[in-house]
């Protein structure tokens, strides 16, 4: 299924899910699962969920890197040309941005433990864990795609609505398969069409795409599924998730048409034409954003009515998915500080310079790595002003965590010529003369500082 902006809803998803499950099991094997239980609301001494998430995502990213080149990893993940491995990695990054799904996973592991003790040692342990991992990513992909869809269309969309689209898309697939094989399923096809069986149904030949699928067919298909397939259809299950939909053929028809319209449109789009383009690559929109903020501050707002949109109701929320509404946006922070421009590179004594060069060489980096990497960073840049008290390795670690090790925006001076990427965290820690945990801690503190003033940046 394709909808505007969505990336994780096509056939490739099955492989993405399996790859993430496989790599997650690798990441959590051994000591991994008991460590997940160490935390709690009351501070039981274990690592905090955020630290666990960081460890988990690093381990999964490593495992994904090792899977590169496998046929599963290289398989197409969607029609934009993204591979299964690329989608898996980007969803892993999304997990960091949406930690509530990780918290949900930890809660599921904790409740399994409360019910069944050390479930990770028993037979079928992998299956139990894999199921929880699947649930986490299934929820996350719909959240991410619902947001992608809202951004693409400028209209509200919810994970529940995405789930409903997918149910309808699956229904269409099933109906199309029955139509194609109508001789074998004559009674069921007749029931879907709402008339007595009698030869080749013309509808079966005329339905060329989901846009040609009628809402009544979907409703009758679901209604009669119990009789023909032995289990109730999605509109007629006890869960009542889609129960109201069976009385709303107009809504079903509109959603089927939306899927069909976009499928037709996207089939004609050039694969190479990404949604971002050059302007997106260069993040030029930031100029517009800063201008919009400036003009808003300069304008006298007296007497202008606010045009704010209220949070939309989620009409597709099933009864069992109703949760508490999370609190709204945080309060306004203080204005960002005007910071002085720091000195570019501190003057080094010959002894210090020799030490730096020896250190770089011992890490298989060019001898003047620190000097040149530091000099290539613009002294007036926002990041450098914000992180002026941090060392170069900490700053590079910040970029590595936020943008990955290989972003094409990095100057050559920042890259390890051997890999073409930023130095590894291990190399950076050695350059800084600190341990990996210390570098991580300083990096995270630096990111927290950047994030704290982010709304106004």
């Amino acid at each position: 299924m394709r909808l505007p902006g969505t990336r994780y809803q096509e056939h490739g998803w099955e492989q993405v899910r399996k790859l993430l499950g496989h790599c997650s099991l690798l990441a959590l094997n051994g000591e991994g699962v008991p460590a997940l239980l160490g935390h709690g609301d009351k501070g039981e001494g274990g690592p905090a969920p955020a630290a666990l998430l960081e460890r988990y995502t690093e381990a999964v990213a490593t495992a994904l890197g090792r899977s590169a080149g496998s046929s599963r990893a290289e398989a197409p993940g969607n029609h934009y040309g993204e591979s299964v491995a690329e989608l898996a990695l980007s969803l892993l990054y999304e997990l960091r941005a949406q930690p509530s799904y990780w918290d949900g996973f930890l809660a599921a592991v904790a409740s399994e433990h409360a019910r069944n003790g050390a479930f990770w040692t028993g037979a079928g342990a992998d299956g139990i864990l894999r199921k929880k991992i699947n649930d986490m990513y299934a929820g996350l992909r719909d959240k991410v795609d619902a947001d992608n869809c809202q951004v693409a269309l400028g209209k509200p969309c919810s994970p529940n609505k995405i789930y409903t689209y997918r149910m309808l898309d699956t229904a269409y697939g099933d109906i199309a398969a029955l139509f194609a094989n109508w001789q074998v399923h004559e009674d069921q096809v007749a029931a879907i069409l709402g008339r007595a069986p009698g030869g080749l149904p013309i509808e079966a030949r005329q339905m060329k795409s989901i846009a040609g699928c009628k809402a009544e067919w979907v409703i009758r298909w679901s209604e009669t599924l119990d009789r023909f397939a032995g289990s109730p259809g999605p509109l007629h299950t006890k869960s009542k998730r889609f129960a109201s939909l069976k009385n709303q053929p107009d809504k079903i028809a509109a959603m089927l048409a939306e899927i069909g319209d976009y499928e037709e449109l996207s089939a004609n789009l050039d694969h190479a034409e990404g949604w971002a383009g050059d302007a997106g690559e260069a993040a030029l929109w930031l100029e517009d954003y800063w201008r919009v903020l400036g003009e808003s501050e300069a304008a006298a707002p007296e007497g202008t009515d606010d045009r704010l949109l209220a949070a939309p109701d989620d009409e597709f929320a099933g009864p069992e998915t109703d949760g508490p509404v999370p609190p709204d946006a945080a309060p306004l922070p203080d204005e960002p500080l005007a910071l002085p421009t720091p000195a570019l590179t501190p003057a080094l004594t010959p002894g210090q310079r020799a030490h730096e060069q020896a250190l770089a060489l011992s890490l298989s980096l060019p001898p003047r790595f620190i000097e040149l990497a530091a000099a290539s960073q613009d002294a007036s840049s926002w990041t450098l002003r914000m992180l002026k008290d941090d060392t170069l390795p900490v700053r590079l670690a910040v970029y590595q965590k936020m943008l990955g090790g290989a972003d094409d925006s990095y100057p050559d001076e920042w890259r390890d010529p051997a890999t073409g990427e930023l130095p590894t965290l291990q190399q950076l820690a050695a350059l800084d003369g600190v341990s990996m945990p210390t570098l991580r801690k300083r990096r995270n503190e630096a990111i927290a500082r950047l994030s704290a003033c982010t709304p106004g940046l």
């Binding site: 941005a97 960073q377 709304p455 106004g456």
Partner: protein, 190 residues
């Protein structure tokens, strides 16, 4: 982009990631497209509350990015368009001329009898790649005949049309025949 800075792009991307990669529980589109577009083209600056809503909603910021990139793309297309030309077709010359279309299909000229004379209407095709940009910018446009005389000058109305009386004594078909059998639409120098 700052040419002197090798890390300008990396900085920009880092700031973008910081802005958009935040989880804001309960986030939703806080501003309508019309509000965002008004802020982008400067016609209606955001109020203080709208500004705060935008700054604290990664989802609304992402929508702003989509709109900003789209406007930039359209502005680029509009900037490229300078001129469209067309020919008087043989068939058109033998009968009463009611319509001419530029070779790129982006413009049509309609001729409507009006009392003793004619009206001439310039219409922009909605699907022209530069249509959104032109509609926003509303530049002064001019239609010229093959001899370089002005047939029509003005700005497009909200329907993408511009209308005036036929300025010559000879009827449209005969006039174009006598003046090179060609016409062109272009932006008039301000």
């Amino acid at each position: 982009m700052n040419e002197k800075s090798k890390t300008g792009l990396a900085d920009r991307r880092l700031r973008e990631r910081l802005l958009l990669g935040r989880a804001v529980p309960g986030d939703h589109l806080r501003l309508a497209d019309a509000t965002l577009l008004g802020a982008l083209d400067g016609s209606r600056p955001l109020t203080a509350n709208e500004r705060a809503a935008l700054m604290h909603s990664p989802l609304t910021l992402r929508r702003l990015r989509v709109l900003s990139d789209a406007v930039r793309k359209q502005a680029g297309a509009a900037a490229i368009w300078m001129r469209s030309g067309g020919l008087l077709r043989a068939a058109a010359s033998s009968t009463t001329l009611d319509r001419l279309v530029t070779d790129d299909g982006c413009w049509a000229l309609h001729f409507v009898p009006d009392g003793d004379g004619w009206s001439v209407i310039l219409a922009l095709a909605a699907e022209a790649p530069f249509a959104p940009g032109l509609m926003r910018q509303q530049p002064m446009l001019r239609v010229l005949d093959g001899a370089g005389a002005t047939v029509l000058q003005g700005r497009l109305d909200i329907d993408g049309e511009c209308e005036d009386g036929w300025p010559f004594d000879t009827p449209p078909a005969r006039h174009f025949q006598l003046h090179g059998g060609m016409f062109a639409v272009e932006t008039a120098a301000p």
